[in-house]
Amino acid sequence: MKESTLKKKRKRLIFRTSLLAVMVGLLVFAIVSTLKDDKAVIAKGEQAPNFQLEKFGSEGETIELKDLEGKGVMLNFWATYCGPCKDEMPYMEKLYPKYKEKGVEILAVNLDTTELVVKRFIDRYDLTFPVLQDKGGQVMDLYNIGPIPTTLFINADGEIVEQVTGPLTLSKLEGYLQQITPEE
């Protein structure tokens, strides 16, 4: 075979391969985008995005997630009009003091719009962990929360260890909290 033909052949192979690669790339991109649109959730193993919310009943005190680095964080999305959310509140309250000592913070992000309703709720259930006010639902959108209650367990490195949709039982809750307890 002539040198020039070999060269031509190689050139052709490179051309075809790169063009196919580009098109396969576009194809994968299109399909991934379609799938992502379907069920956009923050996945396990991802870094939890930062946010800052006002604490209920604190007159303007805010909590920013990135300030809690080094601690485990349980992020619970709830609302007063959601039945199952109410059921798990006592469990959270029960385990809160014990795990707070171990370096785990429980943040309950509330999705109501009316402060009074939440205030009454907090009083009735004697909640001591911080309840945060997500009036515009921005943080809910940020975390792509669909049905509530949804709970995220974030470890000391800010990584999402577990995402649970639906109510938690006491033993399950304790199990997840142990997972995100920072090591001594």
């Binding site: 799938l35 805010t62 920013e64 009009y81 921005q138």
Partner: protein
């Protein structure tokens, strides 16, 4: 790679059917384009070597060959058409009412068929991965098939010589022999020029050609399609395309979705105007309609830009950008975004005013208080010294197991548990108050609460759009149309003249409209003593000529 050296001296790539230069059929390749046994030559791609037919060695080549096939392309298009047709049998999920559950809706509405339709995922055909895959494969097929044919054809048309092989001449559809030595070749050439043919000559051999650019029509429209597809793909990238939706209550300020938390808007007022029912011109039409006819939907809004660092959830520092109204087809535009008036809800409760009166006498009044339903105070002091404490508030109340609960956060059906403290008392009277409910909790209350007045507000629904893909899609469409016109309204005509010892041979080829070609030839040979060539196709079989014509049309399209 083997090369084929023609007897005219031209070196053709492997896979060539007709020599690029002189048109002589390459005997052993006659099977490739179905020339075998035919009296006429198959002129598809001018007998050039399509790239896919030259190698079939590596996997890359195999994949390439697969997509270069017109059959594969047509199959993909047919599959997509079938899928699209199936997708329209029942409404897609996005068109069913938003408050119903898709999993039960299809079964309830369409029975077993609906259930199967839903379970196969056909309710989301046009956003499914496999539909995207089909479209993408069509795109790949178009790109590869075009490249595979464009360059060889370009080479052949560039390299064609006026001098053609005898077999090539004889086997053209339009062919004629003239035996005479009184031919006026100069007049022939002049006539060709008059009819806008461009002429190239080689030692008495003449090639006259017209409208070659029409050959590129299919490729131009393929380029248009590819640009169109790229435009559609760009819609997946938020930098180019955003389509979001936002509900805003009157007086409320919300973040505009899709703007990365950069922009906020306040709804100052939502206006719904209807046509005047008293107007003589419209009276009848409005009465026929049975309901007021809207004339204008409008949101008066203020757009703000966030000036501090974007931290989701944090109270933003806002700077006013503009104040504008969104009406139907007149969006509010800011930065790269547009807000379109899309929907509305009228008369959501905003405020309620209550008064305290004696239980038995509604005319008494111990004072009134107004509750802001989105942000109620916990306690209201009345002028008479009475104190009212909101013990509980249910924005949208329902009874569940005999107890009131709220099923949403929106004040659509508000209800309250009020504690009324008479002046100086520390023991309250409790009553439950909702729409259509006024319950005395203990049964021996002295006072009663009554609704005096209420205020409502409207909610507006706006679509947030950003679209940098439209011009790409429009450009693709325009190029596509140019390609179609280029290929449809012009056709490539060629006439060859070959001098012989005792006269000349004449042959002609076109991709369609053979009648016009023959008429062209008739005109250019006027007075030259060249005999009119015959259409060998029609000679062969007169009856099938119509369908053969169609076949040629099809072949053209495949190019």
């Amino acid at each position: 790679m083997k090369e084929i050296t023609c007897e005219c001296g031209h070196v053709n790539p492997e896979g060539t059917v007709l020599c690029e230069s002189c048109g002589k059929p390459v005997e052993k390749n006659q099977h490739i384009d179905g020339n075998e046994g035919n009296k006429l030559l198959n002129m598809r791609y001018d007998g050039s070597a399509r790239r896919s037919q030259t190698y079939n060695r590596t996997y890359v080549d195999k994949i390439w060959n697969f997509f270069s096939s017109v059959k594969v392309g047509v199959t993909l298009i047919v599959l997509t058409l079938i899928a699209s047709a199936i997708g329209t049998i029942l409404p897609q999920e996005m068109y069913i009412p938003p408050n119903v559950d898709a999993s039960t809706h299809y079964r309830d509405q369409y029975g077993l068929f609906g259930q199967i339709y839903y379970q196969l995922g056909l309710h989301n055909t046009f956003t499914s991965w496999w539909y995207m895959l089909l479209l993408a494969l069509i795109g790949i097929s178009i790109v590869i098939a075009s490249i595979d044919r464009f360059f060889p054809l370009y080479k052949t048309l560039k390299k064609q010589k006026p001098k053609r092989h005898e077999i090539f001449m004889k086997k053209q559809r339009v062919f004629g022999e003239t035996k005479s030595n009184q031919l006026d070749i100069d007049l022939f050439k002049n006539n060709l020029k008059k009819r806008h043919y461009s002429i190239s000559e080689d030692n008495g051999h003449i090639l006259a050609e017209k409208n070659r650019f029409a050959r590129w029509g299919p490729y131009v429209n393929h380029i248009g399609l590819i640009i169109f597809l790229i435009g559609s793909l760009m819609r997946f990238v938020p930098a180019f395309y955003i389509d979001e939706y936002v509900w805003v209550r009157e007086g409320e300020t919300v973040m505009i979705p899709g703007t990365d938390g950069q922009y906020y808007m306040k709804n100052n007022d939502f206006i719904l105007e209807t046509y005047d029912e008293g107007d003589e011109r419209f009276k009848e039409a409005i009465q026929n309609n049975g309901a007021p006819v809207p004339k204008n939907f409008q949101t008066d809004a203020v757009i703000y830009k966030r000036t501090d660092e974007v931290v989701p959830g944090k109270e933003p520092e806002l700077e006013k950008v503009k104040e504008a109204s969104a009406k139907m087809n007149h969006p509010i535009k800011f930065d790269e975004f547009a807000l379109y008036q899309a929907s509305y809800q009228l008369n959501e409760f905003e405020e309620m005013t209550f008064k305290v009166h004696d239980k038995d006498n509604e005319d008494t009044n111990y004072g009134e208080f107004t509750v802001d339903l989105t942000n109620p105070k916990s306690e209201y002091e009345l002028d008479s010294g009475h104190r009212v404490v909101i013990e509980d508030y249910y924005p949208e109340y329902e009874m569940e197991d005999g107890r009131p609960v709220s099923i949403s956060k929106y004040p659509k059906n508000p209800a309250f548990v009020f504690n009324v403290y008479p002046p100086g008392e520390s023991e309250p009277e409790t009553s439950f108050l909702g729409i259509g409910a006024n319950v005395d909790a203990s049964g021996d209350n002295e006072y009663k609460l009554g609704l005096v007045n209420f205020d409502v507000r409207d909610v507006t629904g706006l679509t947030v759009k950003k679209d940098h893909t439209l011009w790409v899609i429009a450009l693709g469409g325009a190029i596509f149309m140019i390609g179609v016109i280029q290929g449809m309204y012009w056709n490539h005509r060629r006439i060859w003249l070959q001098p012989k010892a005792d006269g000349v041979w004449i042959a002609g080829h076109t991709n369609k409209n053979w009648f016009a070609l023959r008429r062209d030839i008739g005109k250019v040979i006027e007075g030259t003593n060249i005999k009119e060539p015959i259409d060998q196709h029609e000679m062969k079989d007169d009856q099938s000529s119509v369908s053969e014509e169609e076949e040629h049309g099809l072949k053209y399209n495949q190019q």
